[in-house]
Symmetry: C2
Subunit: 307 residues, 2 copies
C-alpha cells in the first residue's frame, strides 16, 4: 500500500469516479490512476468499485469502508506536514477562516486586529459562506476552521469550541409606530413587516420556531444573508429589522433605533468548528482564544456574552 495510491482512491471518489479528471487533478496521467486502483484492489483482494463495463460508477461496501479509513490516513499525514511547517515557518503562514458576513463584519474586526499584531507574518483569509457551506469548508480542509452558529454542533466529525452567545435586537426608523410601545412582544412584532436573515443563516432556525411556538406567524417581507442589506431596506421603510445585536454600530446607525429583544428569543451560541483530530498550529489555537478574550472585554458593548 502506498500513500499516493490512497490519495488517488479518495480523489477518485471526490471526482465522481472520473479517472481522467482525477489524474489531471493529481498531476498524473490516466493510466497511472487506473494502476493505483488496480494495485489496491489486487492487494486487498477485493473489488472497491462498482463498474459498468470499464467505467467506474460507485463504491462497493468494502470500498466505502476503505475510503473511510483512507481519508483518515490522509488527514493524519496532513497533520504531520503541518507539524513540520509549524516549526519551519514559526509564526508565519496562512490562517483561513470560514464565517458568515455578520461575523466577518461585526465580530471579527477587533480579533483580527489583535491577531495581526501578534502574528504580523500570518496571512489572513476570510472565506464567506452559508452554514452548510461553512461546514463543508471545514470538513474538506478548504479553511482551517469555520465560525458559525447553526448546524455545526451536530456533525460528529467536527470538534466544536463555543465562542460566545448572542441574541437579537430590533432596528427601526425613529418614527416607526412600534417604537411607541413600551415593551415589544412577539405579538406586536408579528403585526409589522419584518426584515431578517434568510433561512439557514445566523440563528434563523430559532427565530422561526420561537414565533410558531407562540402560535404566531411573523410577516417576513424580506430576508437577506447579511445585516447590511437588512439595514438598507429598513432605511427604505420596508419594515422593522431583526438582526444580531452585535451588528448594530451606534455611530453609523444613528438613524436607526435599537431595541434589545433578548427577552423574547433564545440565546444563540456561536462556535468554531474543525475536523476532529486536526492538528492546530499555535497561532490557530491562539486565534480561538483571541475571539473568546475579545468578547470578554467590557469596553465595547456589542450584545455579545462570553460563554
Amino acid at each position: 500500500m502506498d500513500l499516493k495510491t490512497l490519495r488517488s482512491l479518495v480523489s477518485l471518489v471526490e471526482n465522481d469516479f472520473n479517472v481522467s479528471r482525477t489524474a489531471e487533478q493529481l498531476f498524473l496521467v490516466q493510466p497511472a490512476v487506473s494502476q493505483h486502483i488496480q494495485r489496491l484492489e489486487q492487494e486487498l483482494g477485493t473489488q472497491l468499485f462498482v463498474r459498468q463495463g470499464k467505467r467506474l460508477v460507485g463504491l462497493t461496501d468494502t470500498g466505502e469502508t476503505v475510503v473511510q479509513y483512507a481519508r483518515k490516513v490522509l488527514a493524519e499525514t496532513r497533520n504531520i506536514i503541518e507539524v513540520g511547517r509549524e516549526h519551519v515557518e514559526q509564526a508565519s503562514g496562512v490562517l483561513r477562516i470560514g464565517t458568515t458576513h455578520t461575523q466577518a463584519r461585526y465580530v471579527l474586526p477587533p480579533v483580527i486586529k489583535a491577531f495581526n499584531k501578534a502574528y504580523p507574518k500570518v496571512e489572513l483569509q476570510i472565506h464567506q459562506g452559508n452554514p452548510q457551506q461553512l461546514e463543508e469548508m471545514a470538513m474538506d480542509d478548504q479553511v482551517d476552521f469555520s465560525m458559525c452558529t447553526e448546524v455545526l454542533g451536530e456533525n460528529p466529525q467536527l470538534t466544536t469550541v463555543p465562542c460566545y452567545q448572542w441574541n437579537r435586537s430590533l432596528i427601526a426608523l425613529h418614527d416607526h409606530p412600534i417604537l411607541a410601545q413600551k415593551k415589544i412582544s412577539l405579538k406586536s412584532l408579528s403585526q409589522y413587516p419584518i426584515i431578517t436573515y434568510v433561512l439557514g443563516f445566523t440563528g434563523r432556525g430559532h427565530f422561526s420556531s420561537t414565533f410558531s411556538n407562540a402560535g404566531l406567524k411573523p410577516r417576513v417581507v424580506l430576508s437577506a444573508a447579511d445585516t447590511d442589506v437588512i439595514k438598507t431596506y429598513v432605511r427604505e421603510g420596508m419594515g422593522v429589522g431583526i438582526i444580531a445585536s452585535m451588528a448594530y454600530t451606534p455611530k453609523q446607525d444613528r438613524d436607526l433605533e435599537l431595541r434589545d429583544l433578548s427577552k423574547l428569543f433564545p440565546w444563540e451560541i456561536t462556535v468554531i468548528a474543525y475536523p476532529k483530530g486536526k492538528y492546530l498550529r499555535h497561532y490557530q489555537q491562539h486565534f480561538i482564544e483571541l475571539i473568546q478574550s475579545c468578547v470578554a472585554e467590557p469596553n465595547r458593548w456589542s450584545g455579545l456574552l462570553p460563554i
Copy 2:
C-alpha cells in the same frame, strides 16, 4: 512522505532509537532506516530526534507529535488491510484474545465452543497475561482485543465494551469454622487467613479497599494469579479462599464449600478493550456478542450477571 518512512520512524522509537535493531526488525539494512529518518526530517524541515553525536537518544517535541500522528496513520492502514482480508478470507482467519487465567478457564469455554461452531475456520488464540500486559497487548496489536476487569477502563486510547458483572465467593473446606457462621461478614473474614488473587488481578483493587474502608485488615497469607492455585492451597488447609464466583465448578469442587459474598464486595465489570478506531471483522464483533449472550443464558449458574 511515505508509509515505509513512517513505519521506520515509529519502529525506531519502539526500539529505543536503535537504528540497527530497527532495520533488522523491518528487514532492511541500517543505512536504509537512516535515510528514512533523514528524508523525513528534510521533508518536514525540522529535527525529529535528539542526537548525541551521531547517536539518536530521544525525540524532540515536534518529533513526539509527528510520531503520534504517524502511529495513527499506520493504525488506519492496518485497518484497511484488515478490511481487505475480511472479504478475501470470508469467515476464516485468526482471533487473538488477551485475557486472564480465570476468564480463559471458567468464562470463555462455552463462548469459544459456540464461536468455533459458528466459525470453524477461524483459529483461536488465547494470550494470557496480567491486566497491565493485557492493556499493552491490546494497544500494540499483539491481540485483537483484551478481556479484563481492572485498569482497562481508564485508558482513553481504548474502546471498552462491557461484557458482564461478577462478584466474589468464599471457598473453604467443609469443616472450616467460618462455615458455622450464618452470615459471613467482612469482620469474620478478616479473622481467618485468606487466599486470593494477587494485586492487579481480577478485582483485587476493590477487594483491598473494601476491607480498608471498613477499617479492617484482611490476613492474606497467599495470593496467586490464578484460581486453581488458590483452590489448591485452600484444599491444603492454608486458609479460606476468596475467588471470583464463576470460578467455582460444583462437580470438581465438591470438596469445597461455597458461600456467596456479593453482599460484601462491589460488583466488578469485565470489559473487552481494543484500540479506538480499530476495524473489527464480523467474527470479532460476533465474538463479543457471543460472550454477552452466553452470560445471559439462564441454564448455567456461574455468579455472572449480564450488564
